[in-house]
């Protein structure tokens, strides 16, 4: 039950309360709109996160299988020796984007292989000797690149998911405060003041009638 705000029962206060109510309703409109957008984005992100996690797990299981096959074929020591030459720095573009006031990180993996490392046929030269290695190693290398992409994508989605959830909580609290405390409180007080004024009017009318009778008698 909303509480009546303690104000002096005057017309000026009633006008002020009405102004406050209209302001509170405007704030509520924005907050609600923002909440609906954030919720939509949150659901979308949640869906994408689940999908990205599933994809990553699939890719990783495929990668482990491919690495074990390649390791079994070449021997782990020989494979490690070949792979030392392939080490490259990971390049990720990191930035921010804004969704309804929430700053969300945005990551994008840039191809870590230099342009000249690509052959005419479109297949990348990964740095290891193609003569001494098999297609199993190619497959493992290709899968590991896909895994990296999936990890970066998941990192972005996971962080967005957390940030959006926090902001939804905060916005919901504001929205609930407005909906269940501020606005009903103002409405109840306005009603109370209106009733008080009506009561005063009735009293005034009764008094006037009484005075009229008294004047007529006198």
């Amino acid at each position: 039950m909303p509480e009546i705000i303690k104000v002096r029962p005057t017309k000026i206060e009633l006008i002020r309360l009405k102004r406050r109510l209209s302001m509170a309703q405007r704030v509520q409109k924005i907050v609600k709109d923002r909440l609906s957008i954030l919720t939509m984005e949150f659901l979308e992100t949640a869906r994408d996160t689940v999908e990205a996690k599933r994809k990553l797990v699939d890719e990783l299981s495929k990668l482990y299988k491919a690495i074990s096959i390649a390791g079994g074929y070449h021997g782990y020591i020989a494979m490690e020796k070949e792979l030392i030459a392939t080490e490259a720095d990971l390049k990720v573009t990191a930035g921010l984007r804004n969704i309804a006031g929430v700053r969300i990180p945005s990551f994008e993996l840039i191809g870590n292989l230099p342009a000249e490392a690509w052959q005419a046929g479109g297949k990348p030269m990964r740095g290891y000797n193609l003569l001494d290695t098999s297609s199993w190693l190619d497959r493992a290398a290709q899968l590991s690149e896909e895994c990296l992409k999936a990890i970066v994508e998941l990192a972005e989605l996971q962080r967005s998911f957390e940030l959006l959830a926090k902001e939804i909580n905060r916005t919901k609290r504001i929205s609930n405060a407005l909906e269940y405390t501020v606005i009903p409180g103002l409405q109840v007080t306005i009603n109370y003041l209106n009733m008080k004024f009506e009561e005063r009017d009735r009293e005034e009318k009764a008094r006037l009638k009484r005075v009229k009778v008294l004047v007529a008698r006198g």
């Binding site: 409109k29 709109d33 923002r34 994408d48 006031g101 945005s106």
Partner: protein, 152 residues
């Protein structure tokens, strides 16, 4: 001006808090608006494609998304497409409007949503489910605008 000062003086602390809250919310939700839009062709040539936002921060575009957009339209159209596209949220909660300059946005949105859309009074009107679909495809190339009209 005198009248506005009088109004200001008459405001109670409670009203001021509400007014600040309204201003704050509008400021927060529109902080991510770009100061100016850039053309797709310009963004494609940048190493780190971005625009500067109202709050001074940078809004970074994903290259993959830009390339996807570029694949949808011709080269001369790329020079005319301003990015990020602005999605205006109006008084009607079930609808959103994409602010557009010409036919190119219409073409892009039509292709992305796989349905025909029309531009009326520089706005392409879409429904919320379509908005979700659009945002899924263009996460960094679209930005929400909370129009002051919705609070009027």
């Amino acid at each position: 001006m005198f009248k506005s000062l009088q109004d200001e003086a008459r405001q109670s602390p409670y009203e001021k808090v509400l007014q600040e809250c309204l201003r704050g919310e509008l400021r927060v939700v529109n902080a991510g608006l770009p100061r100016s839009q850039k053309r797709l062709s310009d963004l494609l040539t940048e190493q780190y494609p971005h625009v500067i936002c109202n709050d001074g921060g940078a809004h970074v575009f994903k290259k993959s998304e830009l390339e996807y957009l570029a694949s949808m339209i011709d080269i001369d159209e790329q020079e005319a497409l301003p990015l990020p596209m602005l999605i205006e949220l109006g008084a009607n909660q079930a609808e959103a409007a994409i602010i557009c300059e010409g036919k190119i946005e219409e073409k892009v949105i039509s292709k992305a949503l796989n349905m025909s859309v029309t531009c009326e009074q520089r706005r392409i009107r879409i429904y919320r489910p379509q908005l979700a679909l659009l945002r899924r495809k263009f996460k960094t190339t679209t930005v929400y605008v909370f129009s002051p009209k919705i609070v009027a």
